[in-house]
Structures are given as C-alpha cells and as structure tokens.
C-alpha cells in the first residue's frame, strides 16, 4: 500500500518546507502550495496589468492575503524548486512563479543542472516519489498474486528485470519535470503576452462546424478499417459508453451532482427490453410482445421515473448524500437482478432478446449479429443526443444549471427552482441511461454482471477523463478509455483493468480536473472556484482546509 503514494509526489514538494519538517498551520502550508496555481489559473478575475504582476516574484496571488502568505511561507533556498517542480498546477498549463523568478535574477542562481541545484531536498523528494510511482507501476503491471503468498507477486514484480525500465522511466520523468520547468520558463518569456483577458469573444455557439464534420467523418470511416470481429464489437462498446457518458455528463457536468449508481438505470432499460420485447428472455414477461424500438420510449420514461423517485427525496439534502444513495441503489439493483431468479432469471441473465428491427412498408431491416450496423445506429443516436444536449446547455435550462453550480443561493434568490432543475438533470441522465440499456439488451444477451458498480465507476471515469460538461470531451473519453480497455484486454485480467481506470480518475483529478477536452465554461468555473470565487458543483462549499 506504499505504492499509491506515487501521485502525491508532485504535491508533496509543493509544501513550503523541507521534508519531514512539520508544516505550520495552514497559512504557510497551504499558502505556498496554491501560490503558483492561481498565478496560472486565475487570469479571469484580473486586469491585464495585474496579470503581468503575477510573473514577478513574490506576488503570486491575486489577493493581498495570498501574497502575504507566500512571502512569509517561502524558504528562500528551496523556493525555485518548489515553484517549478512542486505544484500540480505547474505540470499543467499553468505558468509558475519560481521559474520566472529564476529567470529574472540570473545572477543569484546556479544553472538548474548544477548538482547542488538539481539535488535540492525538494527535488530529491520528488525523485523518491517518482521512484515509488515506478515501483507501483511495476507492481500494477506485474504478476498476479494469490492470498497464499500475499506479497510474493508484488515482490516478484519488483525484483523482475523489468524494474530497470520502470526506474529509468521514473528518473526520466523526474528530469522532465525538473528541467521542463526551465524550458517552459524560456518559452513563456519568448512568447510574452501569453494570456489575453479571456472575457470577450464569448457566446459563440458550439465548436466550429468544419471540425465537427471532420470528426463525424472519422467516426464513420474508422470502424471500416477494423477487421476483426473483436475490434468491431469494441467500437460498439465505445458507442454504448459514449452514450452513457453523455447522459451522466448531464448529471455531473451540467448539474454538478454525483451519481454513482448510474448503471442501475441502464439495467432498468435492459430489463425493460427483455420484459416487453420477448416472451422467453426472462421468466417474467409482458403479456404482449413489442418491437424493441417501441421499448425505447418506455425505457426512457421508466428510467427517468426511477431517477425522480430516487432523486426527489435525496436532492433536498446535502449534495454528497445523493452520491451515496445512488451508490446503494446501484448495488441493490444488481443484488435484486442477481437473486430474483423467478423474475430476472438471476445470475444467468436474459437470453434471446430480439434484435432491433424495422418493419415498415418499403423498409424491412433487422440489426443482426453484425456489430457495424449497430454502431451506425448508435452513432446516429449519439450525434442526435449531442445536438440535443448542446441546445439544452445553451438554453434557459443550461444557464440555470450553470447558475446552480456557481452559486446555488444566488440562483435560488434569482428565482431559479434549484431543486426542480437538479431533479430534471438527474432524470434526463437516468433516461439516457435507460435508453442505452435498450440498445445494449437488443444485442440478444445480457446478465447482471454488466450492471456492476464498477461499470458505473467506469462511466464516471469516462466523463472525468474526457472533460466535465464537454459533450465532445466525454465522447473522446469513451473512445480513449474503451480503447485502453480493449488494449489491456489481452494483457491483463479483465477485472484488473479497473486498477488503471481508478488511477486515471485520481490522476485526472489531481492534474487536470477539467478533463482532456474541457468545456470552456466548466474550466473557467473550476479555475475561479479554486481561486475562491463562486462554485463549480452543486454539492456545497469546498471542504475544510481547502481555502488558501
């Protein structure tokens, strides 16, 4: 368990002091940490003049108090190292204070590759952390163990020759982080007016149309290049998860709530399909049989209703209670699906759900066992859903969601029915999940294992990785993470893949909370709220110890 301390590395040295030395209350302790952060992430609230001031030493924060805390908290010798290597912010796009100061006072400083500079305590500590990350990576990718020899597998992975590779990578990464700061500083200085005040040019609709068309073309053509059936069915899974992520994005990205039992609604959709469209798939079935296409609206409504029933009592309470209630709900749906043999066919799952088919005069088509037609159907649905949610986002409703995220009390005082809007987001998310469940079920077979909590977490990972509130982002997230899952499929046991997804979530939260393809508004909200202005979710104020 020493392993996971890895990612803490970059955060560790951002503390003001020398390792092991206890940090003084939160003034110094947190002061130095976020110092460089706001310098990079907080341009929104500042005039251009002030932004310039940020690059000078010791005036790292936008507020006087932060400035003061930085000044008092810094240990002069490790200052530069702290700034460059330390804060998580500096690894992202943020410019960093210490770096620039190094550049501004060349006479006082040794070059960064000088041993005394390179091996300052903070950097050594960072190196240690990197090595730990390397060891952890070796264990994660190493042999599978068993409980008879609990630590054997971990030990084997560490003494394996492969460890050399990991250690080399760790040191290389360390060098990149340590020296990369200097390089970035150089680049920053060459391209001086880095940040224009980003307030203008706002209100543009969606992304550029050209780019969207290119992406759509890629989405249409790419699957044709895949030859094996496995690859094609992976493309299918990407579609399902993209759809799920788009729905969860409404809950997490737009409304700022956390739904951890999202797959439960997916299960509701799937079981509804089996119930309504087949007499044989489950012991429990409707007295009539519907074409799965007609189950779409039913599943939409059922899942949405379940969302309302679950959300209505819970959303009144503290935001994070919703997370745990949905978590419990997700688990319960799976328990019931697994155990109710006489209704859902238990753990064996539902068999022989009919394929989707259209029987109209002139058109007679059935989506058979082939994955590609399914994919194109999914693609069409995804595009429609993206367009629909784009409209929603730019409408009164989307704005109200943004208002709730940014300041719930003010939103309520401005007449926004916060509870109803949160419930709406929750229900829309649930509906999309139920809708996806129909598509999933109509591929003939499913069992309760597809509805595990881990699957819920995977969808959360997709949304986080892709970018909260970004429609394109979550689709890209689905492509990348499902691609990763596919890539790992032959390399590790299926269940072990969740180690990587878990790591992806934590790493993203630490280094790039706005995701791979961030939504502009969400990114701004996160940046502003981290600078103490407004909020970025509907869960209440940030926890204790958070304010710099």
């Amino acid at each position: 368990m020493t392993g996971p301390s890895g990612p803490s590395g970059p955060s560790g040295p951002s503390g003001p002091g020398i390792p092991g030395q206890p940090t003084f209350p939160s003034r110094g302790g947190t002061g130095a940490g976020p110092g460089p952060g706001p310098g990079g992430v907080d341009p929104g609230a500042l005039d251009p003049g002030e932004t310039l001031a940020l690059t000078t030493r010791g005036t790292a924060g936008p507020s006087p108090s932060r400035r003061a805390s930085l000044g008092s908290g810094d240990a002069p010798s490790s200052d530069s190292a702290t700034g460059q290597a330390g804060s998580p912010g500096s690894v992202g796009s943020a410019g960093s204070v210490g770096v620039t100061s190094g550049g501004w006072e060349p006479g006082n400083r040794r070059p960064p590759w000088h041993p005394a500079e390179l091996f300052s305590p903070a950097r050594l500590r960072l190196l240690g952390v990197m090595v730990l990350v390397g060891l952890l990576a070796a264990v994660v990718t190493g042999r599978t163990g068993n409980s008879d020899k609990p630590l054997q597998a971990a030990w084997d992975s560490i003494v394996d020759p492969r460890i050399v590779l990991f250690l080399v990578l760790a040191v290389a990464l360390w060098l990149v982080v340590v020296l990369g700061g200097e390089l970035r500083a150089l680049v920053t200085r060459l391209a001086t007016p880095v940040r224009a005040p980003f307030a203008t040019a706002y209100g543009r609709r969606g992304g550029p149309i050209g780019l969207n068309l290119v992406l759509l073309a890629v989405a249409i053509i790419a699957p044709l290049l895949f030859s094996t059936a496995a690859q094609q069915s992976m493309v299918n899974d990407i579609g399902i998860y993209a759809l799920l992520a788009l729905g969860l994005n409404v809950v997490v990205g737009y409304a700022g709530l956390l739904d951890l039992g999202y797959i439960a609604f997916f299960a509701i959709g799937a079981y509804a399909t089996a119930y309504f469209s087949s007499q044989t798939a489950m012991p429990w079935h409707a007295p009539f049989t519907l074409n799965p296409f007609f189950v779409f609206p039913i599943a939409l409504i059922l899942a949405g209703l379940a969302g309302v029933i679950l959300g209505a009592p819970t959303l009144r309470l503290r935001g994070d209670y919703l997370a745990i209630v949905t978590l419990g709900f997700g688990e319960i749906i799976q328990i019931v699906a697994n155990n109710a043999d006489s209704i859902t066919n238990g753990a064996r799952g539902a068999f022989g759900v009919p394929h989707l088919s259209i029987h109209l005069p002139g058109i007679d088509y059935t989506w058979g066992i082939e994955p590609l037609p399914y994919y194109y159907l999914l693609l069409a649905i995804i595009v429609l859903v993206m367009i629909a949610f784009g409209r929603l986002e730019r409408s009164r409703i989307g704005r109200s969601w943004a208002a709730i995220r940014e300041d719930e009390i003010a939103a309520e005082a401005t007449g926004v029915a916060t509870l109803r809007l949160k419930l709406l987001a929750f229900a829309i998310g649930a509906s999309v999940s139920g809708f996806a469940g129909v598509l999933f079920a109509s591929k003939q077979f499913f069992n309760p294992q597809s509805f595990s909590l881990q699957a819920s977490f995977f969808v959360v990972a997709v949304v986080i990785f892709g970018g909260l509130g970004s429609r394109l982002g979550v689709v890209v997230g689905a492509v990348v993470l499902q691609g990763l899952a596919f890539y790992l499929r032959d390399k590790v046991q299926p269940a072990d893949r969740y180690i990587y997804f878990g790591a992806v979530i934590v790493v993203m939260m630490i280094f790039r909370p706005q995701g791979l393809v961030p939504s502009r508004r969400r990114r701004r909200e996160i940046e502003l709220s981290e600078a103490g202005i407004g909020g970025a979710d509907a869960l209440g104020p940030a926890p204790t110890g958070a304010r710099p």
Partner: protein, 309 residues
C-alpha cells in the same frame, strides 16, 4: 421457530455485527466532522487493514491445530495491531494522494468525491490482483465455544471478543475526542476551521491525524470482521455503505451517534434478515439509510461534532 424464540440470539448477533459497523462508522464520522466530506475510500482502508491483520495472524499461526490460552491472546493482539497499522497507513496514503493535492488547490467538492472513488477503485482492484479474487479465510485463532447462555441465546467466545474489543475501542475514541488536547483540536477544527487556525491549531496536522485515527479503527475492525467472516478484495463495499448508514443514523459528525447508529443498524439488520430473506439483508440497510434521510437527515443525536450544513 418463531421470531420471538430467536429474538435474543438475533439480538446478540446484531450487537456483535453492529459494534463492527460502529467502529467503521467512526472513520466516516470523524472525517466528515473535520472535512465535511464523505470519505468514499474508507471502505478500502477497512479492507486493507483486514488483509494486513489476517496475513500477520496467519504468518504467526502455529502448525498444531487451534491454539489456545496465551497464544490465542497474542495472535489476536498481533492481528489487531497489524490490522490497525495497515489501516492507518492506508488512510494516511489515501489522504496524501487523493485529498491533499486537491485541498492545496482548493478544488471544488465534487473533485474530492470523484478522486476518492478513483482511489477506491484502484485499491480494490489492486488488492484483487495481488491477493486473488476469492474469499480468504482466517483459521481459528482460539477455541470458539459457548461461553454462557442468556435467555436461551448462546454467546460464543468470538462474539464476546469482537464485542469487547469493539466497545473498548469505541470508549477509547470517545475519551480521545472528549478529553485530550488532540480531541480538542479535532473538535475545534470541526466547529470552525478558520477560527481554529487563528487559535493556533494546526489544521493540516489535525486532518492527517483524523484520517489516521479513522484508519486505525477501521483496520482493527477489519481484522475483527475477517475473524468472523472472511476477507476478500471487495469486502469493503457492503460494510462501508452500512457503516456510513450507521454514521448518518446517529448523526454524521457525531462520535457517540456513530456508535449508537452502528449498534442499532446491526440489530435492525439482524431482525430484518431473519424476517425477510437473508440475501436481501443489504437492502435493509439501504432502506434504513433512505428512510433516515427522508425523515430525520440530521440523525438521532444530531450533527454535533461538525457543523450542520
């Protein structure tokens, strides 16, 4: 075999399990009190502590049959100690990796919850990979016979040990929070972190200590749990949700509330599991959670340690 014939037996069982819930619930409640945050990864702290204690006890277990007497006492003590240490280490690491970088950045609340979920997913599956994905049994560490009978209900050595250790830990923690300087610091931060800073309380340190204390309890509780049932990589989830329910039942942020909530939940579940179907036991806890949230979200004893939202 009506319900009332079984009543006392069910009560004994319920109290035993409930005391375990209480021990885990304290971790949630302490962290909530101090950080106003549900620590979603607490169940993994419990799981890792459980494995630590289990492996330590198993490594020391002599070859000849079931040990007895002093040997048993030592084994249980070592298991508890190592379990607690592993739990504390896990909690500390968790705080370092998943929470502290976010606190440094003053990240929005959603980020903490998600980060904890990620850490939990990582830890569960890494444990699954290293220790296998099936149940791991802990051999008997002592002769588990009936010590005495009360109202026709048999009280086994095991229930007695578990209940005794759990209650001792609960009392110890209550003393810690109520009567020591450290506890004073914890309560100060829980009430008003900003003022606590001004009064010279080291909030950073209090937060870490809170995680460690919660980890110690969860780790030791994990070992007790493994002694009764068994250990497995995903053992944390269900007791975790139940312990959280217990914490909310008693009033989250309230130390004595968590204890009361744990014992009550254990009883409710024990009776309910008998009256309904055992496989739906977990559903009962969830229904209890939803019911409290709807009827009395501040819990039975109110949210005392922490601020009400």
């Amino acid at each position: 075999m009506g319900f009332f014939d079984q009543f006392w037996q069910l009560t004994i069982d319920g109290l035993m399990v409930g005391s375990l819930y209480a021990v885990i619930a304290l971790g949630y409640t302490l962290v909530y009190g101090v950080l106003q945050l549900i620590n979603f990864a607490h169940s993994e702290v419990f799981m890792l502590g459980s494995f630590g204690g289990l492996f330590a006890a198993r490594a020391l277990l002599p070859d000849h049959g079931v040990p007895g007497g002093f040997e048993s006492v030592c084994l249980v003590a070592v298991g508890l100690g190592v379990g607690a240490a592993c739990g504390a280490l896990a909690a500390f690491t968790l705080e370092r990796v998943a929470y502290r970088p976010l606190r440094r950045r003053a990240a929005p609340r959603l980020a903490y919850l998600i980060s904890a979920i990620g850490a939990s997913l990582f830890a569960v599956n890494l444990a699954g990979k290293e220790f296998g994905r099936q149940n791991v049994d802990l051999p008997d560490l002592f002769h588990n016979g009936t010590v005495f009978t009360i109202f026709g209900a048999q009280v086994s050595t095991q229930s007695l040990v578990i209940f005794g250790v759990a209650i001792a830990m609960l009392i110890g923690l209550d003393r810690l929070v109520a009567g020591t300087r450290l506890g004073q610091g914890i309560r100060a931060v829980a009430q008003d972190a900003d003022t606590a800073v001004l009064m010279g309380v080291n909030v950073e340190r209090i937060i870490i200590v809170t995680f460690i204390v919660g980890g110690l309890l969860a780790g030791a509780g994990g070992f007790l749990y493994a002694m009764t049932f068994n250990a497995s990589y995903n053992m944390g989830f269900v007791p975790g949700v139940k312990a959280f329910t217990a914490a909310v039942l008693g009033g989250i942020g309230n130390v004595r509330g968590a204890m009361l909530g744990g014992l009550l939940l254990g009883l409710v579940e024990s009776y309910g599991g008998y009256l309904f179907q055992a496989s739906y036991k977990d559903v009962i806890a969830f229904l209890v959670l939803v019911a409290i949230l709807m009827i009395r979200p501040s819990g039975l004893l109110g949210e005392r340690l922490g601020r009400a939202a």
